[in-house]
């Protein structure tokens, strides 16, 4: 090998893949290419500490440039791959960047990520209508936010609610508009959605669920948001957080199977087993059950899947079977999620919802699936540990908030 491994996409998954591949003993060249002009950095703080202005980008670097150089990982920033092709079906091939640079490779990994879904409404291209995905987005937004008075957040998911929390903490008038009938509907149960609605309302945020944005009004710069229920909300800043769309162009060029994301198996192999993919751009079997198809947008998944991909490239078979986990910081509320609650038929609430310290354990047919923990890290960690060990916590026992969950972890009864 001389052209080495090309990793397209220089964020959490791509960086991890490069580092893990080197750790696995790979001695050939590793090239990590990304279109942003920055050293790979952590994205989650962009909608939290970075947006508040309490962190600089350098503090978010995933690895220092010196570390990458010292490990012989070539980082190419500010270049976007436009076309890519395999020689005789792979694994080798070549890629061309938007600026015309050609990179040949012996092996290819796609960690191309996702882009924010665009708001489709008249006036969506007005100045002051912003998105939050990259460091440059966040830098622009924090500058705009410092002068704004009335902020409308479109989308009541994690990104939107975190951005709303930051704006509210800065004393702005904030309204969140969500088209579905509850907040964070894709990730948590109704009881948690309702908690967050109330928690934001208590802190002075206006929450409007079940209504859509029909238009944005203003000369050049946005001045108001118009809703499907006829309301018009004055706004000098609009933050759109309505989900992401996986980047698919290169996968399509390569003829890879694609269904709402690049289809991969537990070993991060695409439908062309010589090409691996990891992170937000992929759809994979549920890591806990090995069945179904899930697309996970998280740091944990990017890291776990990238490790599986690196192992595959190194000739080892190490499936991504890590327990998925997520977090969201809003105000003084720390939400930690372990497992995947989709398909639950029962849940148990522990702790004090009004007091803003509680957890919800999810079950299906008596088996523990997941936890959503608000300001209760012990409950989060206990469930995560149980799921990691293939153990469980009985729903009946968990209902007693006075008993620590860590003392209730028991082996799973097979076939029960």
């Amino acid at each position: 090998m001389h052209a080495g491994t090309l990793i397209v996409g220089a964020s959490q998954a791509g960086l991890q893949l490069a580092v893990s591949l080197r750790d696995a003993g790979e001695t050939g060249p590793i090239t990590l290419i990304g279109e942003e002009p920055h050293v790979p950095y952590q994205r989650p703080p962009l909608s939290k500490a970075y947006l508040q202005g309490s962190t600089e980008l350098e503090q978010l670097w995933l690895r220092a440039p010196e570390f990458l150089a010292g490990n012989d990982i070539s980082l190419v920033t500010g270049e976007r791959i436009e076309t890519i092709e395999l020689t005789d079906g792979g694994p080798s091939g070549s890629a061309r960047t938007a600026s015309g640079r050609v990179l040949t490779f012996d092996r290819l990994a796609l960690t191309v990520g996702a882009r924010p879904r665009r708001l489709e409404a008249p006036g969506a291209d007005l100045d002051g209508v912003t998105y939050l995905r990259t460091a440059d987005d966040a830098t622009a937004l924090r500058d705009l936010q410092s002068d704004a008075e009335s902020v409308v957040v479109v989308g009541g998911g994690f990104i939107g609610l975190e951005a709303a929390a930051v704006a509210r903490a800065q004393g702005k008038s904030v309204t969140v508009v969500e088209a579905a009938d509850r907040l964070i509907g894709r990730a948590v149960a109704p009881v948690v959605s309702e908690f967050y609605r109330a928690a934001h309302a208590r802190r002075g945020v206006e929450i409007r669920v079940g209504t859509r944005v029909t238009g944005l009004a203003g000369e050049n710069r946005v001045a108001a948001v118009e809703l499907s229920d006829g309301t018009r909300i004055p706004a000098d800043l609009v933050i759109v957080g309505i989900g992401v769309v996986p980047r698919s162009k290169l996968a399509h060029q390569l003829g890879l199977d694609y269904d709402g994301g690049i289809l991969v198996d537990r070993f991060a192999r695409t439908s062309n087993p010589t090409v691996v993919a990891a992170g937000d751009c992929t759809v994979q079997p549920n890591p806990l059950t090995g069945r179904g198809q899930v697309r996970l947008e998280s740091v944990q998944n990017a890291i776990s899947q990238a490790k599986a991909a690196a192992a595959t490239l190194a000739g080892r078979s190490e499936p991504n079977d890590a327990v998925p986990w997520f977090w969201s910081d809003q105000y003084n509320l720390k939400l930690q999620i372990a497992g995947l609650s989709t398909g639950h038929d029962h849940y148990v609430v522990r702790g004090d919802i009004e007091g803003e310290a509680f957890s919800v354990l999810y079950y299906r047919e008596g088996g523990l699936l997941a936890v959503d923990a608000v300001n209760t890290p012990g409950d989060y960690m206990a469930v995560r540990k149980a799921l990691t060990q293939g153990a469980t916590i009985s729903a009946e026992a968990a209902a007693d908030s006075a008993v620590a969950l860590k003392d209730l972890i028991v082996p799973q009864t097979i076939g029960a």
Binding site: P44, Q59, R63, F67, Q300, K334
Partner: protein, 106 residues
């Protein structure tokens, strides 16, 4: 810049420059210190940046907060009296030379 000394199980030392104000975990991860993972980016959510603080620094560093305390109980490696999550230790000039031991597993 204050320095942090990481000591691995086999006794090897890694000395890393930290920015004042950043966490011990952040300095370790950015410089690729093996055995400090910090998956959650310093969010007190993963317990993968567990360290044992050397005795002479235990007073300066102090003990864990409530959230950290819960996570330490459930981490992979043995919890000891000097266990901390390194994401919860902000570096200061006063802590220059801080020495921590990395556990066998995270």
């Amino acid at each position: 810049m204050p320095k942090v000394v990481f000591i691995t199980l086999d006794g090897a030392q890694r000395v890393v420059d930290a920015h004042a104000g950043e966490s011990v975990m952040a300095a370790a991860v950015r410089n690729g210190v093996p055995g400090i993972i910090g998956e959650c980016g310093g969010n007190c959510s993963c317990a993968t940046c567990h360290v044992y603080v050397a005795d002479e620094f235990s007073e300066g560093v102090g003990g864990p907060g409530d959230m950290e305390d819960d996570l330490l109980d459930l981490g992979v490696a043995d919890r000891r009296a000097n266990s901390r999550l390194s994401c919860q230790i902000p570096m200061t000039e006063d802590l220059d030379g801080l020495t921590v031991h990395i556990p066998e597993e995270q």
